[in-house]
Subunit: 133 residues, 6 copies
């Protein structure tokens, strides 16, 4: 469930269906995951979020698989269970092997550790790392 | 500066120097950044952290550049200024172009946004996303 | 359940009952939610937390509904499922419409996104934004 | 400064200038703050972010001032110094009094406290708070 | 500086001075740090926060030094620079040695790492760890 | 369950069993919790993480019980349900009383509150708190 419930395709307005259709066509699948069905209560946000994701997660200077793994890294740092579950599956579908997943986790764990060591030791930024040099 | 100050090479113990030497040799550089100089107050943690990072960030199923960008993604989500500055420079040295950086930021921003939309709408995990299926 | 279990009214000490009574009287309801029943193991913290919340969330320069929505915004950013669920219901009871909820979510999502864009791009604070000017 | 530097109006491309112009016109001001000048390195993200913010932060079911205070609440929870500084000024311009600011801070502080009490006491969600009931 | 400026003793109201006096007497010191001078704009929050801290951080089942180190651990996880700086000094004054500080940092770093490994691997809670068993 | 499933002792490789054996011997127990069974998919990370934890959480300048409570404090701040559940049990086994747990929670809650008050009021670090003075 979700705060306002989930809007299924058959109950969706024309605008929402258009987004659902584009999601399914883009992903070459015949189902819609709960995130979109919950967001469908706000058709403007639904459309905006989907179009942003579609553009941002598509091919570019970075491979879509890499982008999906970055999404997982952020979701893990934020402890978002839904996002971890859904984007891990997406990454697997785009080619993430178990070996890649394990390395991804190792990097995320290490980064979260050193982020705090830096903070706790109150380390100042080296001149060499400052932007504009 | 840092909580306990920074330990320069000339003031470092034999154990610490060994780590500094390995850092410089591995990175093909002749300087040590503040993080290690602060951590040097705790030679056990210094050695452990460096060896972990060296192993984790090295080549494997994921390219070192990709790992560095994941490090940036996590550091940005955690608002760790030092880590953002240092790992952005590291990523650039390993080949991150401006185009790649911008896409990285776009993904990190989007993930942080949808992580909260999912939480706020209290979206339940789809059966299809649950592990062990 | 909760770490130390939940303390029901009938099993509560005189001090705890006094807080429970005040919660029910203030909220014009006849039940106590789990948060308070868990906190009741520590009567000092129970009393202090309830009195703080009662004072802070009451009418003032900001409307209680606005305060409740701010509570939701923070809880969403912190991924606190219990707090999201309970304060969303509280906000609805105080008059939050679906339209207001959706806008609240949109703002929270956007803020979480730009918070990271700012961090990742390492944007310095404009002179115009610095306090004391 | 910023990772890739700041793009001033005179050095900006036509697309970027169009966004800058719209920002200044919408805000009835003659300057652009650093966030946009940093984001201008990525004209697509600049345009998308500005249009999203313009739409989301505008009038609707919630007053623009309320939205600005929610933005501050999120930024404070995320420890984003830039965002706190800039959105506090924006909120003040939109009418946030000192009294409102102080209440906002009190709510944000309290929410961050109870979010952790709930987590630490491992409080289960009451049936009454579950969505779909 | 701070958003609303800092209120010095000589400019403080009678209520604020009473809190300042109690802080100095309790801490056996003759100065007030910026946090209180900023909070003094909201005398109610100033008084409440000081009294809470005084009660919570005092002797009890846990030693005040241990409490101060827990405060540092939380502040490091939250990347609150001010809080890290001030509570590290407080902990040192209460007897935290360099050896204790280093172990504190190692634990905080490790906890932040494994918190994310758990999330990323989507580990379910063992029956043995569930409350109420 | 977990992303890649759980590896039981009987299905584990020689390397993984060696770690499992050491965990059980060190903890004087005959079972392995899910975290390790999930991490066992990555024997290198399993071994490294266990050895780090074993070293860091052992006796030193800080008592193992204190370290366990610091672990809980961090896990609560990060909203990691699994870590809260498991380390709370560990702390209890090492001697954490209910009174100690309640004070721990009070400190963690308070720290999370003041971390945000400091951020929101944009309080500058006092000269007296800066490292290297």
């Amino acid at each position: 469930m979700a705060t306002l419930g989930l809007i299924e395709y058959n109950d969706a307005s024309r605008d929402v269906r258009a987004v659902y259709d584009d999601i399914m066509a883009t992903r070459k699948t015949d189902w819609i995951n709960n995130f979109w069905k919950a967001l469908a209560h706000d058709p403007v946000t639904l459309k905006r979020t989907w179009e942003d994701i579609k553009q941002i997660m598509g091919p570019g200077a970075l491979d879509p698989l890499i982008k999906e793994m970055i999404y997982v890294a952020v979701s893990v740092s934020n402890q978002c269970d839904y996002c971890i579950a859904s984007h891990t599956v997406s990454a697997q579908k785009k080619g993430m092997t178990d070996a890649m997943f394990k390395e991804l986790m190792a990097v995320v764990g290490m980064a979260n550790e050193t982020n705090r060591l830096v903070a706790g030791y109150q380390v100042e930024i080296d001149e060499q790392f400052k932007p504009g040099r």
